[in-house]
Amino acid sequence: MSSPDVPVDPTWTGRVREAAVSTLPPEQLLPDTQPAYVSSWIYIFGVLTLSAFVVVLVSGAVIALAGPAWWHGSSLGHFVNSAHLWSTELFFFFMVVHLWGKFFTAAWRGRRALTWITGAVAFLVSIGAAFTGYLTQQNFDSQWIGTQAKDGLNAAGVGAFFNVLNYGQMLLWHVLLLPFVVALLTGLHVLLVRRRGICPPLPIEEDTK
């Protein structure tokens, strides 16, 4: 509800800008200080996850540009393909430690439920993104994973629109749909962290003898 004294911007772009700036002011979006409790190693695993995700996206873009003959048949292709695999391994490693750190400090406190939910859903979608990546390696490993997974997924009733033996479909899920969702959720997650602030550690309870 707007006050009658404050003029309402007649354009929708202006109203969106005003809403965005009031929701997330620049000093909150890009802060120059952080609370003292952030000076702990456990608080670096979020940004480590984000860094690994950037390497995943860049190495994935490079192997998508060059194609399968390159990533299977040349030394540089093997290297970038391996960088894509190992950055994914690190992405999940850091994300799990980040998840444990947030779980054991109950980081959904202080109106941070949506931050927690976006992180948890991003984790689940990332598993799908990695799974479709293993399916599109174009080797015996991916064939084995596909034939093992199809029965479970068909039994779950999703085989009609998510067919793990359909290489073209799995490739598009892997290079377009799932990375888009993970990137969207990650962006929302980071904006929510900026909006609500980094969750403080749990308070130390006094002994009740």
Binding site: S39, W41, I42, F45, S75, H78, F79, F93, V97, G101
Partner: protein, 64 residues
């Protein structure tokens, strides 16, 4: 450069035997591959160290 890289991976391949049968830890209903178990134990170790180890610069801030 990449010739050196492939020779380096060749050395790693000779240290870690990658073509053998996978090894598992199996006790009753519990079954896990050694590689997955190693990754889980590493994550737990990193988690504990991240909580226990002091962060650089923290002591200076406390003394101020």
């Amino acid at each position: 450069m990449f010739g050196q890289l492939s020779s380096a991976t060749g050395v790693l391949g000779s240290v870690f035997h990658l073509d053998g049968h996978p090894r598992y830890v199996h006790a009753g209903w519990f079954l896990i591959s050694v590689s997955n178990l190693v990754v889980i134990l590493l994550m737990i170790a990193v988690f504990v160290l991240a909580i226990a180890l002091p962060f650089p610069g923290n002591r200076r801030k406390r003394n101020q």
